[in-house]
Each structure stands twice: as structure tokens, then as C-alpha cells.
């Protein structure tokens, strides 16, 4: 994908780093929202004039699908988000508002930068155009973000809010503006509390707030591989006879349990109608006893253990292995997914005694936030399975 040489910005306030994809950049301090709106229109008009040596006689198409609002509490977060956005923008032409809040700043006000980009699609002829608005809200302005965001949203498009770091409070005004809240549960400092707060956030919203979680997308391949264990008809009965589930994850620096193993257990329990009986947590480990309620289950309890393990080649909190043991003694079957030597691959192994043993290697999917976010943005409706899994995690806390 190559980028057209840009019309120069009319009043670049100061020089900035230009990435390879940038075309029109405008930056200013202490601006009003109206200034930003005007600048967006100006950039668009300039991009609509025919390219000097190209053949396009009309403006680059803006096939807009959604508004993306990104909320960051600190510069470090904002830079990470911006980086993710840079690779995403090329693939996803929507208006992005990146909000950085500094409520403790000495002065109130808004600093803004606007980038309007034009790029060619892989086919060569496709011209795309998209905008990124970065806003630093200082002082009291940071407490009234909804009033900043609303005028800058494109009308009649769904608005997704990507909230970095810990989850928002359940009555944050930005939640009222958006149709979907996207978080990355792997970033929650305390996953158990964070997931419970997120569940409360969805339950407490007056409209149907959809939830997206990059952490959920990260474990989706695990769920997919585990589900596949029970596709052969002769393996299906085992899902009613599970006895022990062990989930191992990469030890976190804080020593508390991470979100990935909790969501995985939440998913299993919600799908298989397991009722939590007891829960104990200590030093990053979690032990829980479940009673199966699904029809066809044999009524025996299921012991679930979540255990941390040091890992040198995987990020803290990531899943390392999931083992399901079913049945007893002579008919005991086991199903396991574990990270392979190549951390991007999982090795699955199903042992059905007297029937067969099957092992294979499958990719565990992409883990970069930009890719996970791209997947999340592709989904027109939020995943109801996530909401149910999250609710199950919420019940483990209560």
C-alpha cells in the first residue's frame, strides 16, 4: 500500500514526526472543538482535489463504517494506542478520536492534532482516506470528555470506545455516547476485580452496551481448539463427564491471577452449565469446585485449578496450557492444549482410551493489539458468549 504525496497542511503549528503514511497534519494548542471540526473539513476538501499526476478525477472514497474513540489515561498508553492505530488506519478507514486525559494538569483546555491520510489499496486504483484526531484534555476539560467527543463523531455510524488500561466506571458519560465498549482485560491490574467491574458496567448501562475485549479475542483460538475436541460423536459424551480442569498461565509481576485463565474457565462453566460452589484464591492460584447442571451430566463435581507458571517466552498472564480430564479410571479421557516450542502454535492432544490418541499443532492466532482490535471492529454485533463468560467470572467473585 503506497501513500499519495499530501497537500501540505495549511497551518502546521509545529513540526511533527511524519510516518510513511501521513499526508496532512495539523497541530495546535488551546483549541476549541469548532477549530478541530473546521480543520477536518479543510483537510478533506484539500484531499478532494484531483491528484497532481494521478488520474483520479473525484475525491478518494470514504466508505465509513464506524467511529472509533480511544480513551487513554496517560501518555504512555496513548503512544501505545497510537502505534496500534498507525498499522490499523491503513486497513480501516474510519474517523478515530484518540483522547488523552490529564485531569491533574495546571490549566484547563484542549490540545489537538489532526491527521488526514490518503492511501492506495493493494489493487493500486483504490484510493482511501481516513482521519485521526488526537486530543489532549487538560484539567477540568478532562472531566467533560463527552462534550468534546460528540460534535466530532460522524453521524449515523456506530461508535466504538476503546478504553485502555483499567475498565471505566459504570457511569462514565462516554459510555452513553458509544455503542460498544472495547477493553483489553490483559491490561487490568487486578483481573478478577476488573472483569467483575466490566460485567457490572454492562449490567448497569441503561442502553444495551455491547462489550468487546481484546483479551477475549486472544483466547478465542484456545476456545476454538477445545471445542473441536468434542466434535467427533464418540468424544461428545465426555463433555458431560469432565472431572478436572487445569489452566496454567504465565506468572504476572504483581502475582495476581490474570484475565485469560479466568475468562477461559468462565467460558467452559457458562457453556457447560456448571454452577460454582466454592472459590479460593491465593498467590495467583485459583481453586474452584463446580456442580454440573446441564442435562446429561452425571452430577459429579468438577475441580478447576488455575495455576501460574514462570514463562520466559510468553507475555505475563498469557495462557500456557489447558487440560481437561474426563471420566474415571478405565475410561478416563484427557484433552489438552498447550503452547508449543514456537509460542505462536498450540499443540492439542486428545486421548480417548481404547479408541484413539490424536495430536496436532495449530496456530494460536495473533496477539498484537492492532490485530485483535481489527478483529473486534469487524464484528457487527458483540459476542453474546463473551457476556455470558464474563458474567460467570463475575459470579466467582461474589
Amino acid at each position: 500500500m503506497s501513500v499519495e504525496q499530501a497537500p501540505a497542511a495549511r497551518n502546521p503549528a509545529r513540526s511533527t514526526h511524519h510516518s510513511a503514511h501521513e499526508s496532512a497534519v495539523w497541530e495546535a494548542q488551546n483549541v476549541s472543538v469548532a477549530d478541530v471540526e473546521r480543520q477536518l473539513q479543510r483537510n478533506l476538501r484539500e484531499l478532494s482535489t484531483p491528484i497532481a499526476h494521478g488520474t483520479a478525477a473525484h475525491p478518494p472514497p470514504r466508505a465509513s463504517v464506524l467511529n472509533l474513540v480511544v480513551h487513554a489515561d496517560e501518555d504512555g498508553e496513548a503512544d501505545r494506542a497510537s502505534e496500534a492505530m498507525a498499522s490499523l488506519a491503513i486497513r480501516h478507514p474510519s474517523r478515530t478520536l484518540l483522547l488523552v486525559t490529564a485531569p491533574d494538569a495546571a490549566t484547563d483546555g484542549l490540545d489537538a492534532s489532526v491527521r488526514t491520510q490518503r492511501a492506495r489499496g493493494p489493487g493500486g486504483q483504490t484510493q482511501l482516506c481516513f482521519e485521526e484526531v488526537r486530543l489532549l484534555a487538560r484539567g477540568a476539560t478532562a472531566l467533560h470528555l463527552a462534550s468534546v467527543v460528540e460534535p466530532l463523531l460522524m453521524s449515523n455510524l456506530p461508535t466504538y470506545l476503546w478504553w485502555l488500561g483499567r475498565p471505566p466506571g459504570s457511569n462514565d458519560p462516554l459510555l452513553r455516547l458509544c455503542d460498544r465498549l472495547i477493553v483489553d482485560s490483559a491490561e487490568f491490574p487486578d483481573a478478577l476485580a476488573g472483569l467483575a467491574a466490566l460485567d457490572a458496567c454492562a449490567a448497569g448501562s441503561d442502553k444495551n452496551l455491547e462489550l468487546g475485549d481484546l483479551g477475549w479475542r486472544r483466547i478465542a483460538p484456545w476456545c476454538q481448539l477445545i471445542a473441536q475436541f468434542f466434535d467427533p460423536p464418540d468424544a461428545r459424551p465426555y463433555q458431560h463427564r469432565l472431572r478436572r480442569v487445569t489452566v496454567e498461565y504465565a506468572l504476572t509481576p504483581s502475582g495476581v491471577v490474570s484475565a485469560a485463565p479466568l475468562l477461559l474457565v468462565g467460558w467452559l462453566a457458562a457453556r457447560l452449565s456448571w454452577e460454582p460452589e466454592t472459590v479460593t484464591t491465593a498467590r495467583g492460584a485459583l481453586d474452584s469446585l463446580f456442580t454440573p447442571l446441564q442435562p446429561g451430566a452425571d452430577g459429579e463435581g468438577i475441580t478447576v485449578r488455575i495455576r501460574p507458571r514462570p514463562s520466559s517466552h510468553l507475555p505475563a498472564g498469557a495462557l500456557l496450557a489447558v487440560t481437561l480430564a474426563a471420566g474415571t479410571d478405565a475410561t478416563a479421557a484427557s484433552f489438552e492444549v498447550r503452547v508449543g516450542d514456537d509460542a505462536a502454535c498450540g499443540i492439542t492432544r486428545a486421548v480417548l482410551p481404547g479408541v484413539r490418541e490424536i495430536e496436532r499443532t495449530a496456530p494460536l492466532g495473533k496477539a498484537r493489539p492492532a490485530e485483535l482490535l481489527a478483529h473486534e471492529l469487524e464484528r457487527a454485533v458483540a459476542d453474546p458468549i463473551y457476556a455470558e463468560s464474563l458474567a460467570m467470572v463475575g459470579r466467582l467473585v461474589r
Binding site: P61, G123, Q224, C345
Partner: protein, 544 residues
């Protein structure tokens, strides 16, 4: 003729008359419906459309289709975790491969043809461990005895559950023998409680109506119609499916989609390449067989069909069949007004000199095979009465482009008078299939200024600009459909026969006359007669 086809359809297509016991597998829910109990963990993941455990048997496994299309597509499915661990492939051919050398050969080609490259060694190794090779003569019963034994063994060791998908990737000549032998060895049905057997047939489905019928009878004497998957990879293309999405998920177009508002429709499949190294094949086929009878008539059905009740196989295919049945036969009297054929001579494409068709390798120096066809068709239906459909396809045209142009009738009254409307062309809707898949809508707008001056403007939409995901290869989609038992994007026997019954008289008429070939230069938009065909009606071909 129509009645005969209908009777044929009723007698050979059990699913249309009364649902067969396993008609349920047309639903997308295959993984949950096959077993006695559902896989509870699959809920919500169902949209991923994961293939159920099964074995794929490829006849003609040493050929290009296997190594360039099927195996790379399967590998890409494995990469997306859409293949179950139990999945197995058995390649059957005469060539002296071992399991090991067969896998090595496939790996080399997959390195080149897989959508996602480079290959990931661990994933490939794991996928390839389920690939086996069976050396055998497809016309020998003994091959099938060994095949049956191997499949039973795979059921036991890998858990393929008595589910077999036979993929016939051989030249058409061996085709009937394979089908017969599969039947003789009782491999056309599964004994397992959750088992199934399906057969995938590649084009060409015959070379005229007679041979197509013969082929259908042969296959249907061994397999029921709902076991048969006739693959037209064109239908697996995202872009082609988008035509249906565009028409049937929007309220906006359907009220306008008839002779009342549409002046005419043009379907163009232009290729800039010649016959490449396929001269020998093309000499037997020609443009009408190679592209028009199958792909272009399928595009026509998608543009012209009535809205199906559901997007399930029989509902969609019933509607497509109705379009083919409504094609007005081309009368001998109108033949020259409605059909034009052409063959390219030498010329220039993209600044390069290229030889004429008769100079291509594998082509007879006096060949009468057409490399260009233009057709003017009518559909005798309430919706389309009087609306011409212009189809054209050719090789060595100036650029590669597949598109459907829907030209609307002019506004009934333009109130701006005189010179104001001079710059105004009729409304146009262009569905671009490739390259740069998208939609263009042309409408009139006022030129800014103190006078009322109108001009046509184009509004472009590109699919690639709205969606992030890379489109899967057509074979990925279609192989997954076969394994899930979804026949929506496959052709039914009656569709194939109906298409042939429309096209066959054109061959007959051509056979009676010696064409003056070559009649267009490579790098031009086809013979002059094709321009006349549409100009006669006061219209012109749109430039893609």
C-alpha cells in the same frame, strides 16, 4: 424442451420433491446435528464454520489442481483452525509416490501457492501428517478395495467417523469409471451412524446438452443428488456472493430492479491474457464453453433472479434455475443479430506485441475456435420482459475486468430544459467483480454556478475500503461448504442441463458456418460485429 427438463429435474432431484432423510445437512449446523447430542462448547463458535471430522479422497491427486488449489486451500483452513485434528486426505493416482514423497511434493507447491506464506513449518507438518497417498489405477476395482480398507482404517485410527468426501480432480475421461467403481465397491454410502458420503465434481460438466445429461445420469445412478457437489469456483468468490448480498440485503435497489426502470444490463468478463499454455485445452473448449455457459450464465442468474425465500441451497438454486428456464431460445432468424463470435489475431497489449490465437502453442494454424463471444439475451419473465441482457467475454482484450453494468432508463421528464441537461447520462449502477471489487453509482448533479447546468458524477465504493479481512480463496470456502454439506454455492443437475440446453443450439449454428477468423486484433475490444450488435439497439458497450 422446458417440460422435459422439468420432468428430468423432478425425477433426478429427490430433494426438490420430498426432503431426503439427510436433507438436514444442508443446514449450516452440521457439527451439532450430526451427533446424537450437541457439542455445547461449539455454541457461539458456530459462525466459524469449522469442518467436522472427515476424510477427503482426491482422485487425480498428482495433478495441478490438487497441488496448486486444493492442498493450499486446505492448509489455509488448517491455519485458521477450521480443520479438525481428525481430518485426513487420501490422494489417489497412478503416479509412484509414497506418503512421504507425496507430502514433500505438496509442500513444495504449497510454499508457492498457499494464500498465507511462508508456510509455518509446525502447522504444515501437523497438517501433512494427515495426508496419505494411495497408488492405484482409478479404473481398477482392486484400487477401490484398498481405498475402502484405508478409509476404514482412518475411521479407527484418526476418527474420521465414516465421513468421506470424494473429490474428482481427474480429466473428464476417467470420470465415469471412478463413479462406477465407487458404486461397485459400495463406497457411495456410509455404514457409520454419523457418517456421510459426498462427491465433488469439477467442471466441465459435459460439453453439450447430451454429454451433460449422460454425465448426470452416470453420477446419479450411484449417488443421490444431495450427495453431489458440482463445483464452479466462480461461485465461491466473495465478489460473486456480494451480488446477492447487495441485491437482497437492501431495500433500495429491489423496487427499481425490473424492466420498468432498467433499460438494459451488460455483463463483461474481459481477460487481457491469451490462452497461455492451455492451447490444447482451449482448442476443445472455446470461449462459449470455457466461460459463458458456466460462469457468465451464473452471473446472469444472480443479477436476474427473484429474491429467494432463504439462503439455503434449494431455495437459491430453484430461483437460479427459473432464470435459466426463462432464457428465450435464440431463433435461427435472429441468430446473427444476437450472437457474435470472434478470434484474436496478433496485436499489442500493454505496449507488448502478442501473437494471434492461431500462432499460440497447441493451437491449430487454421483453428475456428472462438476466443470472443457477445450475446444479446432476453428473459421471458414478468420482471424482465423486453429488457436486453448483453454478455461479452473475450481473451486478449485491453484489460482484465469483470463487471455488471445496470443502465437505468432516463428520467421520464427533465424539468430543467434545453441545454441544462446536455451533460447528463442515464443513471448507471456498476457492480465491479474484479479487479478492485466495488460498486459505482452514476447520477446527475448540478454544476456549481449561477446557471442550472447538470452533469453526471460517479460515486465509488470499494469493498476493500470498508472491511479489514482478507477474502478467503474460493476453494477454501467451497471445500468447507462440501465438508459442512452446504450445497448453496454448487450447481444442481437441472441448472447445468438448462444452461447447456440454452447454449448448445449456438454451437450447432456455428458448426454450419465457416467463420472469417481472426476478426479482432489482440488489445482491442473485440470484433466490429460485437459493436454493431449493441449499436443496432441505440446502445453502446460501457468501457470497463
Amino acid at each position: 424442451m422446458v417440460d422435459a427438463a422439468r420432468a428430468q429435474a423432478a425425477s433426478t432431484s429427490p430433494t426438490t420433491a420430498s426432503p431426503a432423510p439427510d436433507a438436514l445437512d444442508a443446514a449450516l449446523l452440521a457439527p451439532t446435528l450430526h451427533g446424537e447430542e450437541p457439542n455445547l462448547l461449539r455454541e457461539g463458535l458456530r459462525r466459524e464454520r469449522t469442518a467436522p471430522p472427515c476424510a477427503l479422497v482426491i482422485f487425480g491427486a498428482s495433478g495441478d489442481l490438487t497441488s496448486r488449489k486444493l492442498i493450499p486451500a486446505l492448509y489455509d483452513l488448517a491455519l485458521q483452525r477450521l480443520l479438525p485434528p481428525e481430518f485426513a486426505v487420501v490422494g489417489v493416482a497412478r503416479h509412484a509416490y509414497t506418503d512421504e514423497s507425496f507430502r514433500n511434493m505438496l509442500r513444495e507447491t504449497a510454499e508457492e501457492y498457499a494464500r498465507t506464506r511462508p508456510l509455518r513449518p509446525e502447522v504444515w507438518e501437523s497438517f501433512a501428517a494427515g495426508i496419505y497417498y494411495l497408488r492405484g489405477d482409478p479404473s481398477e476395482p482392486e484400487t477401490y478395495a484398498r481405498l475402502g480398507a484405508q478409509l476404514d482404517e482412518l475411521d479407527r485410527t484418526r476418527g474420521t467417523c465414516g465421513r468421506r468426501l470424494f473429490y474428482i480432480a481427474t480429466p473428464p475421461t476417467v470420470f465415469s469409471a471412478i463413479v462406477r467403481e465407487l458404486g461397485a465397491a459400495s463406497l457411495n454410502r456410509s455404514e457409520a451412524p454419523d457418517g456421510w458420503v459426498r462427491i465433488v465434481i469439477e467442471k466441465p460438466f459435459g460439453r453439450d446438452l447430451t454429454t451433460a445429461r449422460l454425465l448426470n445420469r452416470t453420477v446419479q445412478s450411484v449417488f443421490r443428488e444431495n450427495q453431489i457437489f458440482r463445483i464452479d469456483h466462480y461461485l465461491g468468490k466473495e465478489t460473486v456472493q456480494n451480488i446477492m448480498a447487495f441485491r437482497f440485503s437492501n431495500r433500495l435497489w429491489e423496487p427499481l430492479w425490473s424492466e420498468q426502470h432498467i433499460d438494459h444490463v451488460q455483463i463483461t468478463v474481459a481477460e487481457s491474457i491469451g490462452v497461455e499454455d492451455r492451447g490444447g485445452y482451449y482448442e476443445q473448449a472455446g470461449a462459449l464453453r470455457d466461460m459463458v455457459q458456466n460462469h457468465m450464465l451464473q452471473l446472469l442468474t444472480m443479477v436476474a433472479m427473484e429474491p429467494p425465500v432463504t439462503f439455503e441451497a434449494e431455495a437459491v438454486r430453484d430461483e437460479k434455475l427459473k432464470v435459466l428456464r426463462a432464457l428465450r431460445p435464440i431463433s435461427p432468424a435472429g441468430f446473427t443479430q444476437q450472437v457474435v463470435r470472434g478470434q484474436y489475431g496478433e496485436g499489442w497489449i500493454g505496449g507488448q506485441h502478442v501473437p494471434g490465437y492461431r500462432q499460440e502453442p497447441g493451437v491449430a494454424p487454421n483453428s475456428d475456435v472462438e476466443t470472443y463471444v457477445a450475446l444479446k439475451l432476453y428473459l421471458d419473465t414478468w420482471r424482465w420482459a423486453g429488457t436486453p441482457f448483453y454478455l461479452r467475454h473475450g481473451k486478449r482484450l485491453p484489460k482484465r475486468s469483470t463487471e455488471i453494468v445496470v443502465q437505468f432508463k432516463p428520467a421520464p421528464h427533465v424539468p430543467f430544459g434545453g441545454a441544462a441537461a446536455l451533460g447528463l447520462d442515464p443513471n448507471l449502477l456498476v457492480l465491479r467483480v474484479q479487479p478492485d471489487e466495488g460498486i459505482t453509482l452514476r447520477f446527475g448533479a448540478k454544476v456549481p454556478g449561477p446557471v442550472m447546468q447538470l452533469r453526471s458524477v460517479n460515486m465509488d465504493f470499494y469493498y476493500g475500503s470498508s472491511f479489514l479481512v482478507e477474502s478467503p480463496d474460493a476453494y477454501e470456502r467451497l471445500l468447507l461448504d462440501c465438508m459442512l454439506g452446504d450445497r448453496t454455492l454448487f450447481m444442481r443437475a437441472d441448472e447445468v442441463e438448462q444452461a447447456w440446453s440454452f447454449v448448445t443450439p449456438i454451437f450447432d449454428a456455428w458448426a454450419r458456418e465457416q467463420p472469417a477468423f481472426p476478426n479482432y486484433a489482440a488489445g482491442t475490444w473485440g470484433p466490429a460485429a460485437a459493436d454493431q450488435l449493441i449499436r443496432r439497439d441505440g446502445r453502446h458497450w460501457h468501457r470497463p
